[in-house]
Symmetry: C2
């Protein structure tokens, strides 16, 4: 048995972790644009990075280090340091060399425009403003934002039956397209749980599949996507089940917050796909639904257009049959195994559901026991405005 | 040697073909909404249908007939007869039984809203208005339109060296989302060439890959997509090379017209991908580019955001390397194998290219000899308006 107690202290929740955000002049109006996470003890790291082949320089820099522990992550917004080749990695080395000597094996994480070299001098000057004794998780979470409209944090203290405890805290920035170049997500998670690197990586991989990898704003995979989990072990406490549940709660919350804050999004929709031939086919359908322009624009129009749902299921490439398919909006079944149920009364009921800020669309394929749940948002004028008109 | 002479007579260009469009009261304001194609001699048919598993009733009806020749195609707009199960097919049989006795093995093709039974009485009454001696290709091409803003036709007379000739003519409706349910394309091609069914199908399959299957408005595959090629052999003339070239010219023209007339589209962009590991990988990249929301919104904003192109190439899943990739807008190379060329002067030049109604974006992956060309359009406010606000 264990208990999760929610904390409001983000990435500074676990013992020995410090963080802050400052302005280095990368964003306009002196907004915070650089953050650090520092641990007084070196950390094991688990990580998940983008599958994009045009991997950004900070990820290539991280990977080139091989096996290592660190006590410091430097994060900047406004510039992704992507498509910058070897120079991008050498810029990181130059910047990290200027950090104080008590910093061990520092790594960097960047988000912003693609194809422009980092403004080295500004970042080096910014890093000199860092005070490693600060615990300002809100400032750090704000500094890493780009087109996000609110910052995203979540933390728990995990109390075990014997009264011992450890903590996990996280901050993330959303899957909006960055100013102006991509759909980037960054997430940093800190913990003082006494977990091994291998087990932490295994759990992180598993939880990522049903949280960040189930969330879609626009179906694009950026050059910089990063989830980093840092453990300094300072609590000397660990319980695998409790750790996994807490991590899952945190990552699921952040994934949903990212979608809810998707560019121009007004609705958070949960797509529950069941009855597929297997889980993999359910995942394909769930992701096809959350990525479909047909579906996204119907959501924005608050139009219970179940035909677009059916057509998207059919177009996804998996085994499907209209005589076995059922479709529901929340608990309202609008199409049932070949029976056209939709009349004016039902349309009115379904329209009311679609006016909600959050609701679910369920598709039962009626073929097997495969299931998957994904998260998506609508696509409206604001999305086009943010992504087409950013220069004006 | 052969010569292609362009004709303005659409699907009535080949000998023995008749067509017209009439109003059956399916569209508002007495707009034309039903069309027929009639041949005085029975035709061999080649066809390509949607890969959507929720196949519409007219396609299931067609397939259930097995091997057959026909002299009549009945087409209606406003109702797709999709997700209508067995009733959808039986509705077609009821309608087709009311046609005159000189009509042999008639088939039907539908486009419009999903999940609503056909208005049988209106369609039966409409079919009684058909005059099979009419050659009104423009009326037929208008009747099959839904959200298209112009009708799409193309025809050639093919003259061989010995002075003999045959003709091919076509009409199509565009890949906009239909009122309101899907991205549907229909294309009907008629010819009097003396071609066998097998050879006609083989050529149609091959040409479809680089024309209709290379065109994207929104990346959705509808329940009704249909390309039908009817040959009555009345010219007694045939030449494989000339036939294939003429068919390719017609289908390429119509595919590009569909994209140009994509809902809300203001630009037609040709994506030329070269240097991929193989043709299949080039195709994946070309289609990823024409479907990417990141790229589409940048096009709409007339923003030469090459970073989004690079990121989309990297995210497509194929082998790619930033040190080998080159990207050009028309003939202007903006990124060359790891070299950041983009400065203010180049940005100004690239912006001018993006203001054009039509231009190309080329990506050379620098890895092999695989290549593919696709066609796409931009995505702006009008697309959202058409697909979200259609009820208002």
């Amino acid at each position: 048995m264990y208990k999760l107690i929610e904390l409001q202290t983000g990435v500074c929740s676990a013992q020995g972790f410090f963080a802050d955000g400052i302005s280095a002049g990368l964003k306009a109006n002196s907004a915070k644009d650089m953050a650090f996470i520092y641990s007084k003890k070196e950390c094991e790291i688990a990580s998940v990075f983008t599958t994009n082949k045009m991997t950004a320089a900070p990820i290539r820099h991280f990977r080139a280090k091989g096996e290592f522990k660190t006590n410091f992550v430097l994060i900047n917004a406004k510039n992704a340091n992507a498509m910058t080749g070897k120079a991008g990695v050498s810029d990181i080395n130059t910047i990290l060399k200027t950090l104080p000597t008590n910093i061990i094996n520092p790594v960097m994480s960047s988000t912003g425009v693609i194809g422009v070299r980092l403004p080295q001098e500004k970042i080096i000057a910014g890093a000199k403003l860092f005070d490693l004794s600060k615990k300002e998780p809100n400032a750090a979470a704000s500094a890493i934002m780009t087109t996000d409209s609110f910052s995203k944090q979540k933390a728990f203290r995990v109390e075990l039956e014997d009264g011992s405890s450890f903590s996990i805290g996280a901050m993330a920035k959303g899957a909006g397209m960055i100013n102006p170049a991509m759909a980037t997500m960054l997430c940093f998670i800190t913990t003082d749980a006494k977990v091994t690197k291998e087990e932490m990586q295994e759990i992180l991989d598993e939880v990522t599949l049903t949280t960040f990898n189930a969330a879609s704003v626009d179906g694009d995979t950026s050059t910089n996507d990063t989830v980093m989990l840092l453990s300094n072990g300072l609590s000397d406490v660990y319980d695998r089940d409790a750790f996994k549940v807490a991590l899952e709660r945190i990552m699921l919350f952040l994934a949903r917050e990212m979608v809810r804050d998707g560019e121009g999004a007004t609705k958070l929709v949960t797509y529950r796909v069941t009855g597929a031939k297997d889980d993999r086919e359910a995942e394909i359908v769930a992701k096809a639904l959350s990525n479909s322009l047909l579906v996204k624009t119907a959501l924005y129009g608050e139009d219970p257009n179940w035909g677009r749902i059916a057509s998207t299921v059919g177009a996804s490439g998996v085994e499907a049959d209209e005589e076995r398919l059922s479709i529901s909006f929340n608990d309202l079944c609008v199409y049932n195994k070949g029976r056209l149920l939709f009349d004016e009364t039902m349309e009115e009921e379904a329209s009311q559901i679609m006016k909600l800020d959050a609701f679910s669309i369920s598709c039962d394929l009626g073929l097997g026991s495969g299931e998957f749940t994904s998260f998506g948002c609508d696509l409206g004028y604001e999305y086009v405005k943010i992504n087409a008109d950013y220069r004006t």
